[in-house]
């Protein structure tokens, strides 16, 4: 591990921008939608026409409060809005409305887990401190047309609500960051406050990376941008750590700069210098009064209820969070933590699992194997999501019932599953019938086959009661019977035959 060789520690902090899942924008009524025709979702305020004023969107406030509560933050009952000034063509106002002085939520904790240990099947729990969560506006999009030397501006995204989550540098490598972001994604999706799709820009992550020798002061940090998937996040961070370490080893100096991640090469390259340190000229946003939140029973008289957000009501609406769900799955169904981790990690897999369990007589501990092995590997092979699965939960439940009642052997059942995958319209029963995969349990027939196998492998038989030999013979029998033979009976028969 390079960390040991260089005897340096690395620090990784993340800045996450999560697009709020709302119908309209943060300060105007225009619609939030991905991939609409350019400049078709722009209100007068978004275009910064003179004389227009911001009006706060209630749903965005609720989303930020809910996210803050889910991340164990302290909600500031009073928060303020500020202007952050800089010039860029996709931000017509010349400033972004954000919450620099007093954001809506502070001092939270993101608890995440990842699979570690020598066999990568241990669920290790870690946490990151969240410094603050603030509401702010998204900017529009610039499309640089090199050929015609022009930049095209699409303001559809200008003014969409964002939650900026600022995290303390409590991580040390790409893997941790990836696991943390994955957990954040799951939490936001469970809350419904952000759809969390990184490739669509709904969740944007920038990494701050620095290295230092343990015991010495912290090193200079660089910011890494242009990361659009969790996989790239891990790669980018690890590369940057390595780059900084190598640079220092060679006697170089790490610049405090912004670097872009190039996914083709896996390297970070310095971004065009933006005129040194920016003075954002922060000032209070004069057109928005302080944002006040309330608790039921302590709302001042005379306030219009539509203008009031009650923190306790939002708290009551919190759904089951991923961490809690993982624990519940383990407790309720007796499955292993690492399986529970996988279930919650894949979109819809936990729901699929619970549906199968409720529909089948088979025990959850038997179901889980099918879901995390057979189903998941098939999905991954064809790059499908759970909701695109060719074998529906009910169909699998049916198959497992047949397995339970002894209509098919476990080996044959796996074959049936693959057949179901290819021909989902046929039921399990039909496939078993058509392909003659039913359990072969007639004692006489089995006896004959076992006899045949034993006779054709005389050398093995000489070694009595050898488990390996027995398994090999069983394998042969199953081969003969195309996996249909009842393994319990076969084992008994073979044991008898070989011991004599």
């Amino acid at each position: 591990m390079r960390l040991l060789i260089h005897m340096k520690s690395s620090l990784v902090g993340l800045e996450v921008h999560a697009q709020i899942n709302s119908t309209s924008k943060l300060f105007s009524g225009s619609q939030v939608s991905f991939s609409s025709p350019p400049n078709s979702r722009v209100s007068y305020f978004d275009a910064s026409l003179p004389g227009t004023l911001p009006v706060l969107n209630r749903r965005c406030v609720e989303a930020a409060v809910m996210t803050g509560l889910a991340l164990n933050c302290t909600i500031n009952m009073k928060s303020l809005f500020d202007r952050k000034h800089y010039f860029y063509a996709d931000m017509p106002a010349g400033y972004q409305i954000t919450q620099q002085r007093l954001p809506i939520a502070v001092s939270g904790l993101l608890i995440y887990s990842h699979l570690g240990g020598p066999k990568r099947n241990q669920v290790i729990s870690k946490s990151i401190r969240i410094k603050q969560i603030q509401l702010e506006q998204d900017s529009g999009k610039s499309l640089h047309d090199e050929h015609q030397s022009q930049t095209l501006i699409d303001l559809n995204r200008a003014g969409v609500g964002l939650m900026e989550l600022v995290m303390e540098p409590d991580m040390s490598c790409g893997e941790e960051a990836a696991a943390a972001v994955r957990e954040l994604q799951l939490i936001l999706q469970a809350l419904g406050t952000c759809q969390g799709n990184m490739s669509e820009g709904q969740l944007r992550v920038d990494a701050n990376v620095s290295v230092h020798r343990p015991g010495e002061p912290l090193g200079v940090r660089t910011e890494v941008k242009n990361i659009n998937s969790i996989r790239h996040l891990a790669r980018a961070i690890d590369h940057e750590i390595q780059r900084q370490m190598e640079l220092l080893e060679q006697g170089g100096v790490v610049q405090n700069e912004t670097r872009a991640f190039d996914q083709k090469t896996g390297l970070t390259i310095p971004m065009r210098d933006k005129e040194g340190l920016q003075d954002y000229r922060f000032m209070p946003e004069p057109n928005l009064p302080p944002l006040l939140l309330y608790v039921s029973g302590r709302v001042p008289a005379g306030l219009d209820p539509s203008q009031v957000v009650l923190v306790d009501r939002v708290k009551a609406l919190l759904p089951e969070l991923p961490g809690v769900r993982r624990e519940r799955l383990v407790e309720e169904y007796g499955i292993l933590p690492e399986h529970s981790y996988t279930l919650v990690n894949e979109d819809g897999l936990a729901d699929y699992f619970e549906t199968v369990v409720k529909a089948t007589k088979a025990e959850p501990r038997k179901v889980i194997g099918w879901v995390v092995k057979e189903l998941l590997s098939n999905l991954n092979q064809q790059n499908l999501k759970v909701n695109q699965s060719l074998v529906a939960a009910r169909a699998l439940a049916e198959l497992l019932d047949l397995l339970e009642t002894g209509h098919v052997s476990s080996t044959a059942a796996k074959v049936v599953f693959q057949e179901l995958w290819k021909n989902p319209e046929k039921g399990a029963e039909k496939i078993i019938q058509e392909q003659n995969l039913g359990l072969m349990s007639d004692a006489a027939t089995l006896q004959i086959i076992c006899q045949k196998v034993v006779e054709s492998h005389p050398e093995e038989v000489d070694i009595p009661k050898n488990v390996i030999v027995l398994n090999k013979l069983m394998g042969q029998v199953q081969k003969e019977t195309k996996g249909r033979a009842d393994p319990v009976q076969v084992r008994a028969i073979l044991q008898e035959l070989t011991s004599s």
Partner: protein, 315 residues
């Protein structure tokens, strides 16, 4: 003359003694006659006549429709608006080349409220560029001249003013000059640090700066967001009160507006001078420093001389 008050002219309109189109035409004529004041940046002749015609037609129907009521007390009354208020389809420049040719797609809330009353928009008045000024001298379209200039410069022909003229005050100088020169019955200005009050004083009209938050700033192109308010300029105090009552009220498009109580007073048009008390700041060092002490004192004495002496214990 139908009177200088919107209330009076409104009565005249309602009683059919004058039609909305006649009134509009007269006001437009007045604007032409006083063009040298440079009070207007845009005059919306066609639009104004269209609006007036619509109001006139509706009034004619009154005889046949029991249900019809005038839109409001300002129905058919011509008004002007400072050119930093957004007016839909009408050029809004803020007296700056930066916004020359800019046509907003929406009306400022206060403008819309007046239009909803049936009032007729004559045009956009001149101002200091982006309302930054206190004399209406810094406009890209030339300065505004005070209609009372000749009183200061000493008796010239009233149809033209040469290079010798007095400032109208600012930044709502155009609005104040328009009201003072009788080309409209009321005008909207804006006030940040006196920009409605000071031109009102210099042009001799009533100028009201409402409390921040009482009137909506939606559509008022800002100078200082936390201080700007729309201002009201009229020729009589009672008219300013009427307009204030029409324009006040929270606006969901302006988060800095607050609810305010309705005006619970009826102001009379006729003032009984025997019952007034006039407050005057003591002539202070400030006047002395400006060398104006004598001028101020004699102006006050002159005014006091025109009032019953026991009313005015002027030393």
């Amino acid at each position: 003359r139908s009177g200088r008050s919107p209330r009076r002219v409104s009565k005249a309109l309602r009683e059919g003694r004058v039609s909305a189109t006649d009134l509009c035409r007269k006001c437009l004529q007045r604007i032409r006659e006083t063009h040298y004041l440079n009070a207007y940046i845009s005059v919306t002749e066609e639009l104004a006549m269209q609006q007036a015609e619509r109001r006139r037609k509706l009034r004619l129907l009154r005889g046949y429709t029991f249900m019809w009521e005038p839109r409001g007390i300002l129905d058919g009354v011509p008004f002007s608006v400072k050119d930093n208020f957004c007016t839909q389809g009408v050029e809004t420049t803020c007296a700056s080349l930066m916004l020359k040719g800019y046509t907003p797609p929406f009306n400022a809330t206060v403008v819309q409220k007046l239009l909803d009353q049936g009032a007729v928009l004559l045009g956009k008045t001149n101002l200091d560029e982006f309302a930054m000024g206190s004399g209406s001298t810094d406009s890209s379209f030339g300065p505004v001249r005070n209609p009372w200039s000749e009183a200061v410069t000493g008796g010239r022909s009233s149809t033209e003013l040469g290079s010798d003229w007095a400032i109208a005050g600012g930044s709502s100088g155009g609005s104040a000059a328009a009201v003072a020169s009788l080309s409209c019955y009321l005008s909207l200005g804006s006030d940040t640090g006196g920009s409605t009050r000071n031109p009102g004083a210099l042009c001799g009209v009533v100028a009201l700066k409402p409390t921040y938050g009482v009137l909506s700033r939606h559509g008022l192109i800002p100078l200082v967001n936390s201080m700007d308010v729309p201002g009201i300029l009229t020729r009589r105090v009672c008219d300013a009160a009427i307009v204030l009552d029409i324009l006040r009220g929270p606006d969901e498009r302006d988060s800095t507006t607050v609810p305010s109580p309705a005006l619970d007073c009826a102001l009379t048009e006729e003032l009984d001078l025997t019952r007034i008390t006039v407050g005057i700041p003591q002539v202070t060092d400030w006047f002395q420093d400006a060398g104006q002490e004598v001028v101020v004192s004699s102006a006050l004495a002159g005014t006091a001389g025109g009032l019953p002496s026991d009313l005015f214990p002027w030393r």
